[in-house]
Amino acid sequence: MRLNSSAYLIREGFRSIGTHRFMSFASVAIIMACLIIMGSFSLVTENINAAIHALENQNEVVAYIDETLSEDEARALQPQIEAIDNIATVEFVNRAAAMQNFMSNFSSYVQEGIDETVFRNRFVITLEDITFMAQTKVQIEAISGIGAGNVLAHLDYAKAFVTIRNVVSVISLVMIALLTFISIFIMTNTIKLATFSRREEIAIMRMVGATNSFIRLPFVVEGLVLGILGGALGFAATAGLYQLISRRVVASFGEALFNVVPLSQIALPMFAAYMALSVVVGVFGAVNAIRDYLKV
């Protein structure tokens, strides 16, 4: 496309936004609102995932070693455990350390008369992904020197975490799909207004042999400008809101209890997602709106 035609088409796109100020404003506002809602959902999901991940790391699996093995023999099993997929960390805890740990957790009245031989040598293990906790447990039990029934794993907790994570992801995806659909619908109607008020021009363009892509372009420009404007404002608003809320959360709960994902860590992918969505909404809206005029 030649420079003077592109300049002409871009000018036309902006001119049209000016003539439909109210609808243009409305569609920018709606896109912005949809993006804020979508973004909030994604951010909540992100934080829930991070929290679950932190909890997952605390969900340890304990493998008790056969009492007939000496401490050295027990320690020698470590490479076999590490060789299993899905193992994140393995730590050997001998009888003495296990008793120490027990003592520090319980009050003194139960401690009397307890001997360290009551405790078994053990490995404390964390997993990469607790979704596969059951399989990993079986693999650990298969090692001779450990054996079936000697691995303590909280499968029910693991299941609950996985369920929460899945539910949150599904809700978030459904919301994003729904709001994208709404945004495209609103955008389509805004641009339809523009195509309607210029239907005679469009008919004349077709009559004198303008190509469909040429006829479409000013409307696509209009859609893109509105979409990107809504996207940029939506991003700014969501980021501001997030900053505000996360500060409040940290202030009232303290960082130790609830770890908020910092904005700097997610700002860039979030901005990219907002822009991509805005572009999709703008282009789809415009192409949708003008489809009826380009049939013949």
Partner: protein
């Protein structure tokens, strides 16, 4: 150039057979009137020529394009070989005379330099020099129709088709407009097909006249308006 053989068009929505086996052949450079009573199928023929509707049967070739099988994405190329004029002018109200004509060049991707050279040329040809800056509403009906003719001409089409171009004009302006179309035909060799039902105009110009009635060609001859009572 137009070649139609046994063309049939049925409007499903009204269950009307608008054209029923229409054949005609119009050569490059001809001037032809298409006449007939209201509802006889004249506008339907125009819509076939511009690719707005498709024939249900038969063959139709316009400026070497097969209009029954042409791909939608080829239509713009075809339409650039054809200038179209309507009864209601169809000018863009918020554009000046100059811009209305230049618009037709712009949307086909013409260069500015070429537009600046060509637009005054066609405006002079239709007798509108000095009117470039006027808006359509500031012109008479005859002048507005001449802007539409300039727009139809600006991309150098092989053929101009006009559907009742004088329908909104008084008799004197109507004759002037027909004489302008005749002059364009003689000076540039552009093929011209004019739909009308104004007897006096047709008789005054003494051209080839195709008469259709109820979707059939009843007469095709040079001379005055065909009258069904003649038979």
């Amino acid at each position: 150039m137009i070649q139609m053989k046994k063309v049939k068009v049925v409007y499903r929505s009204s269950d009307t057979v608008a054209l029923d086996g229409v054949s005609m052949s119009i050569d490059e450079g001809e001037f032809v009137f298409l006449v007939g009573p209201s509802g006889s199928g004249k506008t339907t023929i125009m819509k076939l020529l511009t690719g707005e509707i498709r024939a249900d049967a038969g063959q139709i070739v316009v400026n070497d394009f097969d209009m029954r099988h042409i791909k939608v994405r080829k239509l713009p190329k075809m339409r650039r070989t054809l200038g179209v004029v309507f009864q209601d002018f169809r000018l863009i109200d918020n554009m000046s005379v100059y811009d209305n004509v230049a618009f037709a060049m712009r949307v086909t991707g013409a260069r500015n330099k070429k537009i600046k050279q060509r637009v005054p040329e066609v405006l002079a040809l239709v007798g509108l020099e000095g009117r470039e800056k006027r808006m359509p509403k500031e012109l008479s009906g005859g002048e507005q129709q001449r802007v539409a003719i300039a727009r139809a001409l600006v991309n150098n089409p092989r053929m101009i088709v006009a559907d009742e171009p004088t329908g909104n004009l008084d008799p004197v302006r109507s004759l002037e407009l027909m004489l302008l179309l005749e002059k364009i035909n003689e000076d540039t060799g552009t093929t011209i097909l004019v739909v009308t039902h104004e007897k006096e105009l047709v008789n005054a110009l003494n051209k080839r006249v195709i008469y259709i009635s109820e979707g059939h060609v009843l007469s095709d001859r040079k001379g005055g308006y065909f009258d069904e009572t003649e038979q």
